[in-house]
Amino acid sequence: MEYLPNILFTIALIVGIGFFARNVRKLSRNIKLGKNVDVSNDRPQRWKNMAKIALGQTKMVVRPIAGLMHIIVYVGFVIINLEVLEIILDGILGTHRVFAPLGALYDFLIGSFEVLAFMVIIAVVIFWVRRNIIKLKRFIKPEMEGWPKKDGNMILYIELVLMFLFLTMNATDFQLQQMDVAHYTKAGAFPISQFIAPLFENMSASNLILVERTAWWLHILGILAFLNYLYYSKHLHILLAFPNTYYGKLKPQGQFNNVEAVTNEVKLMMDPSADPFAAPVEDAPDPEKFGASDVMDLNWVQLLNAYTCTECGRCTSECPANQTGKKLSPRKIMMDTRDRLEDVGKNIDANKGTFVPDGKQLLGDYISHEELWACTTCNACVEACPVSIDPLSIIMEMRRFLVMEQSAAPTELNNMMSNIENNGAPWPYNQMDRLNWVNE
């Protein structure tokens, strides 16, 4: 039975990572429900954007407090992974502090992990206070009620618990080292946990080992659980921020795509040699749907956007429509898209791999016309997003559907459009009068 812990550990690891892999597969399948879009251009610029925005956090610091706290948690997270690597090796091999032979470097590493863990605790507490006590405006919008709010807090609690477990583990380890207990190599520096260590001062070695092992196990099991929680949470952004910034928009923000299917039809319409009465070709593919009414009509980058959204609300707090009390919230557009995509994914799972229409769609059942028509296309949301999400592109696709497939634009806009069609201007003036301004 000597190897029981190693075996249990290895099983836990395989199960944890296995579940995670399953979720990743589901995630990628759902994203691929989107239409194809060519994002293979300008790779160097894309890498640069990813390095700057995701790795370098350049957009986070636009808001200095949140930005600084975020960087601490982010660096803490990255660095702590070194510690996790040691834990995994120890767990599989049955060793303890397998990197200890690194000597002074090891002491330094453990010491800095502790300092970071402490800073993370402070940052998490500040985050919690901003969400729950100060109630920053952008965290209490209607779309944040229920799960999104719980999810936000849950992550903070998990991080807090993980950090405390890490420090407890070290504190008891430190005590055991002092007592020269076998297996507990004298290694590491404990700038933070030395202050918790006195709590365990009068404990027997066996109790200390019990506490140390419990903390160690809970720490690693917690991390595995957290890994699997990601898929169900806005916290997925810690992974997806990287591809998302890579695939983010490179063109000027004002440049909207020209719908190719429309170009073909317009060319045909304007071509004097085309026969307008030509019979439709047999077995021609279904005419393409213009715009988007459901998630499958969006492209996969837009769906990736939806999974990457961290619900931070920076977009919404910059949105002029939202600031003036309109229903539109770009964050809600992203959350709705993700919710719908998840529902579609579950539908596919339940129906052996094919989507069975459920009488619902993104447009109307999740996002209302009112929200869509309130957008000024000002790009403030796109500019504000710290992970290069483009809520505006989704709004535009749905407007296209409303106008081109359903002729469901507000009346005033229909008037404006028929003016353009008839007079070449949004107002009902004669095109021949276009030069009158010169002589007025």
Partner: protein
Amino acid sequence: MSEEIKVKTMEEFMAQGTQPEILFWVGSAGSYDDRAKKISRAFVKILNRAGVEFAVLGPEESCTGDVAKRAGNEFLFQMQAMMNIEVLNGYEIKRIVTCDPHSFNTLKNEYPGLGGHYDVVHHTQYIKELIDNGRLSIEGKVYKEKRITFHDPCYLGRANSVFDAPRDVLKKTNADIVEMKRHKKTALCCGAGGAQMFKEPEKGDMDINVLRTKDALETNPNIIATGCPYCNTMMTDGIKAHEKEDSVTVLDVAELIANSI
């Protein structure tokens, strides 16, 4: 501004067998909207003064289709675009200047994909060029000691990263240029973009232009400068909503310069 201005159409240039330096794309607002027409005239005054050989399309110009596109009518947009491109390419137009950031954006960014490739410049950029090349000199007395704040139009600023040209030009008036709290990349929309100009706003507790004008008024300006006919209308309405029309005026950069030469 009743001063005589000289405008020639592309057709006239054609008849003479010459090409203008630039095409001035007037845009629908600049052609028909009473307030925006003044901006067109002010800009022409500048062009005349600098001796720029420019043309307009006149009745051959049609709506760029930008507003139809933002409203979601890609069909109408592309039809407009292709018609305009036919005319522009027929005249072998190379360089276009416009006072309307929406035309600017769509001509510059969206027309190339449909076969229209031009060097498109916003009028503030062009005025800067004229000043830098010594073709235009500014007296800079009229607005000395006035406080001017510049409202970045979304489709010039955030959408195309043109932030400096209008500011550089404004400095030539010798006025104090004061920035609003949110400016450049974080500027708030005037509320007209995305076809909002042509409809009532959705239900809310305030109109966007009123909020944006509040930003501007916080800088205590004499003049709010804009570089877009729609922003101009929205800010002017905003000033009225704040009952400040007696102390604050809204002027286009072109008007401020036309008054300073």
